[in-house]
């Protein structure tokens, strides 16, 4: 295949990924709500409710508010843009679409942009509660982003490449055989994933009962829809990264097998996230940061092991 043909194909896959995330993210949220409701002895909203919520928000008046409305608008657009860009680099049933042209460093930067958008949102609002949310978000980011970076770098070390399609295909377990560091990182991921997608018990920066949604307190209408969507999409995209890094089995098969297998894995992951969220009380920010710190330390140990090829 010519270079142009390959490029076209990969861009096509990326577009499919973006479309899938746009369609599946609200559905994942709907599933999460339904399962939560069942755990709480409730009927729960219909599974398509998040679509309706987003449509309703999109149809509302676009109110300018907060201290710097321009920054507020920018933040609202940056959030979904960053998540969807990350979607282009994540394998979702096929190998990472933009894999040949990007590397893990770009992915880490793009993911940091998601956090930055929340910071901008809180700063542009300028209210006491949103600023408190910002300071919590920053504390969480400083501990969580390195954890993800360490995982990706450990994978790169194992396969000796920074290319995304190499790294996001179970690289942490090493190119051949089995690596202890991969297992340790899997445990770290299992404990940190909830915090990365900002679900209970780690939704400290938005904590409704403490900070009244924190950074996004001043948002409404279409801009709020953007943020809500970004949050829903985050679950799917981060899920894709986690699956790519740690649960690669079955992804190498033909398309008709690999594609459904990936989404089944994602659904299973979402159900686990829901179960944890529905059965835990929110931790306080200082408790949360202490836990993140401990996880980061363990991840660093695993990185050293990975460097030694173990």
């Amino acid at each position: 295949m010519s270079d142009w043909g390959l490029a076209l194909r990969q861009v096509g896959i990326a577009a499919v990924n973006v479309l899938c995330v746009i369609l599946a993210a609200p559905l994942a949220e709907g599933l999460l709500r339904k399962v939560t409701a069942r755990i709480q002895s409730r009927q729960g909203p219909p599974i398509i409710q998040p679509y309706l919520d987003l449509m309703k928000l999109l149809g509302k008046e676009d109110v300018e508010s907060g201290e710097t409305p321009v920054m507020q608008r920018l933040a609202a657009l940056l959030a979904p843009a960053a998540v969807l860009t990350a979607a282009c680099m994540t394998p979702m049933g096929l190998r990472a679409p933009l894999g040949p042209w990007t590397d893990v460093v770009v992915l880490v930067y793009v993911i940091t942009l998601c956090g930055i958008s929340t910071l901008l949102a809180g700063l542009s609002a300028g209210s006491t509660y949103s600023l408190l949310g910002v300071s919590r978000e920053m504390m969480a980011m400083m501990a969580l982003e390195p954890i993800l970076a360490v995982m990706l770098i450990a994978g790169s070390l194992q396969v000796g490449s920074l290319r995304l399609d190499d790294v996001l295909s179970g690289s942490v377990y090493g190119s051949g055989g089995f690596a202890w560091s991969g297992l340790i990182l899997l445990c770290v991921m299992a404990l940190a994933f909830q915090a990365m997608v900002q679900r209970m018990p780690y939704d400290t920066s938005e904590a409704e009962t403490e900070l009244m949604e924190g950074p996004i307190a001043e948002y409404s209408g279409p801009k709020l829809a953007m943020f809500k969507f970004a949050q829903m999409a985050k679950l799917v995209v981060y899920g894709g990264i986690a699956v790519g890094l740690f649960v690669p089995w079955g992804s190498d098969g033909p398309l008709w097998l690999a594609w459904p297998v990936f989404w089944l894995k994602l659904v299973a992951l979402i159900i686990v996230v829901t179960l944890i969220a529905a059965t835990h009380a929110r931790v306080r920010i200082d408790q949360a940061v202490r836990r993140y710190g401990a996880l980061l330390a363990v991840a660093l140990v695993a990185l050293v092991l990975a460097g030694m090829g173990k």
Binding site: R42, T128, T209, H280, A281, R284
Partner: protein, 567 residues
């Protein structure tokens, strides 16, 4: 020690200060003293005799005796005596020496007397307005008898903002309320925050003061007031209604028939059960554990239905009249109630197990919102907050009313002084309440529901009544009057005292813990503000027969409640 011994002791120490005393029963003591002797007598009662401060009352008695009146209520919990220390205040010079320097818990009550009756507490160090808004004109006092209940002063400036104190050096102000997701009623805390740490706060409340006491003293009659008293609070309404009726009964010496007392006890405990279940659920919600919140509310629901079966309403039972009750508990309903209690007990055990095992809830609530026994004493803190500090006070045991002298139950205490202990206390009290209701149902003998009220009630008698609400003691003070209504009726809800302890409880804690620390006293701002809430559902009126209401209360299996409501 009975009231006579207390009186003799006080006479020995303050001989000339005590003008006269009245001991209507073994459980009440009314002391009429010189206004100048108030601080020293109150100090002796509060410090040396270790009585608990309850409330202070100011009254305009000018039309009857020509002077104002101030009363300080104390409770001798160990001796089962409620005591009121009253003093006349001359109309031309309405000042009274403040007892707040000796009894810190009296701070709010004295500020309220200054606002509403216009009696100046001399020596009080913080005489900021408490109840009246800042835009209210000086020298106009709504609880004076020459102030008509339906007047608004002409120069009242409704839009004037509150004047706040300056925050301490180095602190930023975080406004908390009047509207906040965990503060579902209007109250405003200005938190002084350093980083994430709360260093202090200023409280402005009473934004919904609707003058229920004024209405009772000028518009309603003795037997209208129980229904309005019930509307003081949407959670512990029955408590206020019972407390008011008991205050009248204690003033004029009526005794309700035994069956009525048992039914009052049953309804009070049903109310406690629903409130405890609601609060544990809310506490879980505040720390972000919505699953237990939902389960608590599901378990609570059958209680609401059974309340509706008994009196036609999920809440606001309309139960009490002076001298009796309006609703009977038939044997069928008693059986149903036993069934509901059985299910509740087993389901609640599961919740208790789940909460006790949850490490996140424990780590969020242990060592948070600490109220130690010293604070309990100084601020007059009551109810589960006091019991969680190891102070075994429970009005049901200390000053038995209704049928509580005929049933056995334990006073649950814990020693942690923190939010976690409060959770433990209230979870455990659910089982005691179930036991009390079961014993009452066993004791129910056929008999009248109402004592006859033939004559006009005597005038100028004082009545005190305390009822253990789910959140602590509700205390009512009453002076009977002319025209078939009381001269003065003062309601002291539990939150009134507990809220005064909150600034100490949240000092030097994290902002994130503020909501659960405040939530842990189960604050009821409507009680404190003595607000009347009226729910106007739809313009349409529909008449229901008792049978129809009963079918509503127990939907046929397979019919969802939603369908029933839409019918």
């Amino acid at each position: 020690m009975g009231p006579r011994e207390i009186l003799n002791g006080l006479r020995a120490a303050h001989g000339e200060g005590i003008q006269r005393a009245d001991i209507p029963s073994d459980t009440r003591l009314y002391l009429f003293v010189d206004r100048g002797a108030l601080p020293s007598i109150c100090r002796t009662v509060f410090r040396d005799l270790d009585a608990r401060y309850v409330i202070s009352i100011g009254a305009d008695d000018r039309p009857y005796s020509g002077s104002f009146m101030v009363a300080h209520d104390f409770a001798f919990d160990r001796d089962h005596v409620l005591c009121s220390i009253l003093a006349d205040v001359p109309a031309e010079n309405p000042t009274v020496p403040s007892i707040t320097p000796d009894v810190p818990a009296a701070s709010w009550a004295e500020r309220e007397i200054r606002d509403l009756v216009g009696i100046e507490p001399e020596g009080h160090r913080y005489l900021k307005r408490l109840v009246l808004p800042d835009g209210w004109p000086e020298g106009v006092h709504p609880l004076r008898k020459d102030f008509a209940w339906d007047t608004v002063p002409e120069d009242y400036d409704e839009d004037r903002p509150f004047r706040f104190d300056d925050p301490p050096e180095g602190c930023t102000v975080v406004p908390f309320g009047p509207f906040h997701p965990t503060l579902d009623e209007p109250a405003h805390f200005r938190l002084y925050v350093e980083g994430e740490m709360v260093r202090g706060c200023e409280y402005r409340g009473f934004m919904a003061h609707r003058g229920i006491e004024k209405l009772a003293e000028s518009v309603l009659g003795y037997n209208d007031i129980p229904f309005m008293a019930e509307r003081i609070c949407g959670i512990c309404g029955c408590v206020h209604s019972v407390a008011y009726c008991q205050a009248v009964e204690s003033a004029v010496g009526i005794k309700p028939p035994p069956r009525a007392e048992l039914i009052r006890t049953v309804m009070l405990e049903i109310e406690r059960l629903h409130s405890h279940l609601l609060w544990v659920g809310l506490a879980c919600h505040i720390v972000g554990f919505d699953t237990l919140f939902m389960q608590s509310f599901r378990i609570r629901e059958p209680l609401m239905w059974i309340a509706e079966r008994i009196c036609g309403n999920r809440k606001t039972y309309g139960l009490c009249l002076v001298g009796g009750v309006r609703h009977d508990i038939t044997p069928e309903i008693a059986d149903e109630l036993r069934g509901v209690l059985g299910t509740l007990t087993s389901e609640w055990r599961d919740v208790v197990k789940a909460v006790s095992r949850d490490r996140n809830i424990q780590s969020r609530t242990e060592g948070i919102g600490v109220a130690d026994p010293a604070l309990v004493k100084e601020m007059g803190i009551i109810g589960p907050v006091a019991r969680a500090a190891g102070v075994a006070m429970d009005v049901r045991k200390d000053h038995p009313y209704a049928a509580y002298d005929r049933v056995h139950f334990r006073v649950i205490t814990a020693s942690g002084c923190d939010v976690w202990s409060r959770v433990l206390v209230r979870m455990e009290e659910v089982f005691e309440s179930v036991g009390i209701i079961q014993q009452c149902l066993d004791h129910l003998e056929p008999g009248p529901l109402q004592s006859p009220l033939d004559d006009m009630l005597p005038v100028g008698r004082i009545g005190l009544s305390s009822v253990e609400a789910p959140r602590g003691e509700s205390h009512h003070f009453l002076i009977t009057g002319e025209n078939n209504r009381p001269r003065r009726w003062r309601v002291r809800a539990p939150t009134y005292q507990n809220l005064q302890g909150v600034p100490s409880m949240i000092r030097d804690q994290r902002l994130a813990d503020m909501t659960i620390a405040l939530g842990s006293i189960d604050p009821c701002f409507s009680c404190t503000d003595r607000l009347e809430t009226v729910e106007i559902a739809t313009g349409k009126l529909q008449m229901w027969s008792p049978e129809e209401i009963a079918t509503l209360a127990s939907p046929a299996p397979g019919v969802s409640t939603q369908e029933v409501h839409c019918r």
